[in-house]
Symmetry: C4
């Protein structure tokens, strides 16, 4: 019975959620470690301090965008896990692959902040987002296929999760493609896509009407 161990592995979705929360929490907090503030030796007045902080512009943008990215993917993973009743070793490893990409995001962010005008830096950042999206897609496809989804999950929910990932990734890919013009346009488009997911203005608009 050589596969027995594989069958008993990865049962605990609670621990998977706890590991994920830990990794997201560190990755979110780590982003700040890369914001290098000026030292007292470099700055001689209040005006110079504010100017130096303002000069960190690209770092602030990369930092804010990455926090949004992590928030969106954390919420997305949580939504999936809420609807999954059982864990398997395959599901565990798909999510470890997802978390692998999450731990990479602070590095992609640092790269983008350092080389904010370089298309390759932006495309590496987008690739990171793409991998996270692809792993979440695999996770839900596997959960649906292997019958791990909770019975009380309505059919619309099952369909909406994959659809959501495909729409989001299409928008990200479109945003990344805009780096053909230049990287600032591309970053602006990605931030807009993310603010749309985070703030959901369409949702508010519909509530009002």
């Amino acid at each position: 019975m050589p596969n027995l161990y594989n069958r008993i592995q990865g049962r605990s979705l609670e621990r998977l959620a706890a590991l994920s929360d830990g990794i997201f929490a560190f990755a979110m907090t780590l982003l700040v470690l890369d914001l290098h503030i000026p030292t007292a030796a470099q700055v001689h007045s209040e005006g110079e301090l504010l100017a130096a902080l303002g000069g960190l512009g690209p770092q602030w943008i990369a930092w804010g965008m990455s926090f949004l990215t992590l928030g969106i993917f954390w919420a997305g993973q949580q939504t999936q896990l809420n609807h999954i009743g059982d864990g398997t070793r395959d599901l565990t490893w798909i999510h470890l692959g997802f978390l692998f990409a999450v731990t990479l995001l602070p590095l992609s962010t640092r790269l983008l902040a350092e080389f904010i005008r370089y298309r390759s830096a932006l495309l590496i950042y987008w690739l990171n987002i793409l991998i996270m999206g692809a792993m979440l897609y695999c996770s839900w496809a596997h959960a649906t296929h292997a019958g791990l989804v909770k019975d009380d999950t309505p059919d619309e929910v099952r369909a909406s999760i994959c659809k959501r990932i495909l729409i989001a990734q299409s928008l990200y890919a479109g945003g990344a493609a805009l780096c053909a013009i230049n990287t600032w346009v591309s970053i602006g488009a990605i931030v807009l896509v993310q603010l749309n997911f985070a703030l959901a203005p369409g949702l508010w608009w519909r509530k009002e009407h």
Copy 2:
């Protein structure tokens, strides 16, 4: 049904709490990373070591104050979440905004420790506290408005949470305004406000009488 995904998102308050605990734990521990102790090459006797540690004064003050700040806001968020029964995607994003400000606090602390006589550094620190307070206020206002508060929460509790935030933020704003005199007065006032919330001497006084 384009809003379905938004309705199923952010249900799990347990995971929000776990992410928050992770971020607070990391932010609290990170503060220490910025305390730079002298190296063996710089110090040649026990007396010089103690003098060098004493010379880190501003760093120690900023560090202690920030730990108090994080403790107060952690306790405040916990109190709210204890009384909220259901999560929504809007509540999740309000708290992600709150956590965004929490991850910024180690950076504001570093800035304040480096430029402890600069009013702009102090005002940025205060702005950070203000944003955290504002997000917690939004969170409770949203929870009350959207009917997420647990049914067994007494009316006085509902009122006391927003009142508490307003009082605390008024005291912080008053403390920050004292930087018109100088930043040390301002820091002293903020620390006193925080010790009052942490130690609650009034509470002890009342118990005795």
Copy 3:
């Protein structure tokens, strides 16, 4: 009813435990960040690499000792919280004070590793242990006094927790006092005390007989 907020605060022992686990986890992992390995430029053969790693002796000792310290205090806090049924704001702030000292331990460790022959570095390290012990003592005294201890906790357990802290702190104080001879004797004594608590050889001996 100005004290209402104070009465509803700090109810959730689960979140206190989660915050503690996060802080202990980071503090334990942070210790390793201070172990500076040699770089490729400094080392030209396998022999030199092993010699360079061996030369980090004081760092390894301080690191091992601190991991033991954190393990002992983590286990001690857990034992207490397992027997406490309700949280209060005072208990929360006592434990935040405890965690404050925990976040300081990586710094005391770095100081001790850098100045391992300095009595003041050793006494600061011991002071850190003393504060952690004192906060845990306060925590249990408060829990007993305020009636927070679970009803099914036997009387011997109630007594044994404070007694244990007093014995451990007496041994630590004795170990620290040995720095009158020199710091290595003192460190050796503290490590022996800790190994005794971790491995509990007396317990094994008694089982055999």
Copy 4:
């Protein structure tokens, strides 16, 4: 009753799991901190950036291998704890020993990335894996011997856990022994062993037939 404290200690497997998740999460995220990307001053074109990133080869390999290692041991520990019903102080300390080795892995990884052609660096890395495996073996042996395993755990599961550890460690030892040829062969073999455990291709093959 001097042993009472030892008997009441370490009861909470939930907190042990939470501490473990925190340490694994931090260790996994820390790995990335050691990937040093080039700075803007060193790089003058998109081509140079990609070349510089490619030049980090050994770092990427060490990083990927260590994430796999941590994932495998996290899943292994989880599987064990899922089948253990009660905690004891001895079990707690065995797992603290395991976590001690986990916190060491980012350091072994850094050492291996810096000295990827040195046999001693590879053997230290392997020693780290060996200690983690040995502690998990001790944990299960202790749990079986002390009757902590849940009653509903089938006999095959009890046997398969220790067998799995022995097989995995034999493969790791064989991989490490290949450094007699050179370290790259050895690293290749270890990565193949790990991918086998993570992806379990045999499992998929059997499902198909």
